[in-house]
């Protein structure tokens, strides 16, 4: 039975969405100040207007409920599902006004890609993009990587208790470092701040040695760090990471992406000296096995390609594979090099590398190591049950913040999400093929979009068919929020707009 949301629920939802839109406006203020400082006055005005529009709409929505109150689980789901859509609408405003995009939809695509930490871009001339605008894309990456709701929780916007916990879970997060969700959110925010500062300094060193000015090294270092740690992939230049011609920077980017791929909660354990929790964690172990397997596979698959030289193999093919595995999206190869230089076997390995990606409660997208680990253990359990004597009931455990039992419910939910990802990959590829693209690039880009990786074989580019553009945007949203919040939002919206007695919708009694 599905309860239809009452008008009171929508007032609550509007109120909190208003607050989140105001948060985006506040984030834009930072870019507005940077634009002024850099003398990018036209862009500064674009930011001012975007702030004005966002803040006005946000403030108007806040007024829908001015009394104190709390949130329930369903409201949390709708807020989480809707906020990623609505924030993208407002985040796209300065991009759209910049003239860097053919139309608003393209700007929206970049915003969705930035918030979901995908990294695909439809910008027309990135090399001449205002730095403040490039900075905005990097900040959107960071907001999305840390989590919109996590940031709001850390700032105390959603209060504490059950409502906060609901929102935290609705944004596909799990696990706590601290007893309270708000404390956990603050820990994640502090952790991200430390990594961004250290990463920026690390990135600045090779840039500075390569002749970049301090200002340029700082801006580029920050953008590469924000992009890499949030497992995004947007850059200040059309050549992406290749622009810098620096292998140390490529290594730093990979390390940052790896840090962004690990469950943020585990850093809390490391901080407290609980190294056992880290090294025994199911996701860490699954990731180690998965990445090792990918490295072996790519080494075998690269035979016969023109990247057989060890240096080229390490810097190009291995980077590309790890970029996919860590959900990074930066590339050290041109599309044609990937398509025709690597061979179909290596290309298949890269597609494979993008499917799983990082851990739950991390900046990365994809199926997640946890689910793959659980499914692998359930397969092992099935084999053990077959081989065990009649009366024996073998049980399988996994380790995550302690030893836990692999239950049928857990296996079932993991399988369902895994299946939904696969369906999304396939649907996106079919739409790509229907739009006239070759199957391989269509599959590659569809997997990349839904797993929020960002690598592309040229399908996601300016001028792509609108149907495919919207499909990829949906894939990015679904992949980021892991389906549940989006499905709940769609069902509730449908129930609100089309009430039906046959479907037994019920108005919630207050």
């Amino acid at each position: 039975m599905i309860y239809r949301l009452h008008i009171h629920d929508w007032r609550v939802i509007a109120h909190y969405l208003g607050i989140l839109i105001m948060l985006v406006a506040v984030a834009m203020v930072f870019c507005f100040v940077v634009a002024l400082a850099l003398g990018e006055y036209k862009t500064a005005v674009d930011f001012l207007l975007s702030i004005g529009i966002s803040a006005t709409v946000g403030a108007a929505l806040i007024l829908f409920r001015y009394e104190h109150g709390s949130l329930d689980w369903r409201q949390s789901l709708i807020i989480t599902g809707l906020c990623w859509v609505i924030l993208s609408l407002f985040g796209a405003l300065p991009l759209s006004m910049s003239g860097q995009y053919a139309n608003y939809l393209d700007a929206m695509f970049d915003t969705v890609s930035a918030f979901t930490t995908t990294g695909m871009s439809l910008a027309l001339d990135t090399d001449h993009m205002a730095l403040s605008l490039a900075l905005w894309r990097a900040i959107m990456h960071l907001i999305g990587g840390i989590g919109v709701v996590v940031i709001a929780l850390a700032l105390g916007i959603f209060g504490t208790g059950a409502a906060a916990a609901s929102l935290y879970r609705a944004e596909a997060r799990s696990g706590q470092v601290m007893p309270e969700i708000r404390q956990t959110s603050r820990f994640i925010l502090r952790l991200a701040a430390v990594i961004v500062v250290v990463g920026t300094i690390a990135c600045m060193i090779p840039l500075f040695l390569n002749g970049f000015s301090v200002r340029s090294a700082l801006v580029n270092g920050f953008i590469v760090t924000a992009s890499a740690f949030s497992t995004g992939g947007m850059s200040t230049h059309s050549m992406g990471l290749m622009y810098y011609h620096s292998w140390p920077l490529e290594v730093i980017a990979l390390v940052l992406a790896m840090l962004g791929c690990i469950n943020f909660v585990l850093y809390g354990d490391l901080w407290r000296g609980r190294t056992k929790n880290f090294f025994k964690d199911i996701e860490v172990r699954t990731l180690v096995v998965w990445v090792t397997a990918l490295v072996v596979l790519i080494a075998l698959a690269i035979k016969g390609s023109y990247f057989e030289d060890l240096g080229a193999m390490l810097r190009r093919t291995l980077f590309e594979t790890l970029s996919g595995a860590f959900n990074l999206g930066f590339s050290t190869m041109y599309t044609g090099q990937i398509l025709y230089g690597m061979g179909s076997g290596a290309l298949f390995v890269i597609i494979l590398s993008m499917i799983i990606c990082g851990s739950s409660s991390s900046a990365s997208g994809g199926i997640k190591a946890f689910r793959v680990g659980i499914v692998a253990r359930s397969i092992a359990q099935t084999i053990r049950e077959v081989l065990a004597p009649d009366r024996a009931r073998p049980r399988t455990f996994y380790y995550q913040q302690g030893k836990k039992l692999v239950t049928p419910e857990l296996v079932s939910s993991s399988m369902i999400i895994l299946l939904l990802y696969v369906v999304t990959y396939v649907v996106g590829a079919i739409v790509g093929v229907a739009c006239g693209y070759n199957a391989l690039p269509a599959i590659f880009d569809s997997v990349s979009a839904a797993s929020n990786t960002g690598l592309s074989l040229g399908v996601a580019s300016a001028g792509m068919p609108r149907v495919l553009e919207v499909t990829f945007m949906l894939e990015m949203w679904l992949g980021r929020l892991e389906f549940v919040a989006i499905f709940a939002m769609i069902v509730e919206l449908f129930a609100f707009v089309v009430p039906s007695k046959r479907m037994r919708w019920r108005t919630k009694k207050k």
Binding site: T56, I62, Y66, D127, H128, H237, T335, G336
Partner: protein
Amino acid sequence: MAVLLVILCALGLASCLLPASAHAITIDTSDDDIGTLADRFSTLDDLSNSKNSDDEVVVNTRIAVLASVNRALDKTEVRFTGEAVGEVIDAGAGYKWVNVCDNGGNSIGVYMTDEQAEHVVNCGDYKTTGTVLDITGAYYISCDAHQGALDVHASQVSLVDAGGATTHEVDLGRLVAGVVLCAVALALVAVFVVLRARSGRRGKS
């Protein structure tokens, strides 16, 4: 007459037996459509197979063709123009990396000497149009010296246009609208604060 005929025959025979003399061939692909990656430049493939090994082939092309990865042009001398963007990056040992782009968002890295890089007067960014360079150099789709990078090693660089500052007009209408909307937003927030305070007092009483 017979003597003349014999001399001509001898010259003809000698020209056939002696190795072909080296001469420069210029191929222009700058107006070609890139087309699909698989089928383009078949004519260039044929030409590169049939040309004499001593021929100096220079292909006039453009960045879009180079950036789309062209096996037919691999290790060939190419000539193209492009705008220097970003920074001139130090590559060590007296060399620099200059990244050049076209108007269509395609870019390629050019490896050149410090002296050649001195032609770059401006580097393109939001506020600057970069120096447009005419570059001739060897094109590699997987450069051994740079761990498989797609690049061009310049042999000759000349300046086409120095570039300079770009102006971006501020839209006054947007400025006024932005200020007004920010004021409206502040007013709405003030209303919210007042209403919430009243609601809190009512709750207590």
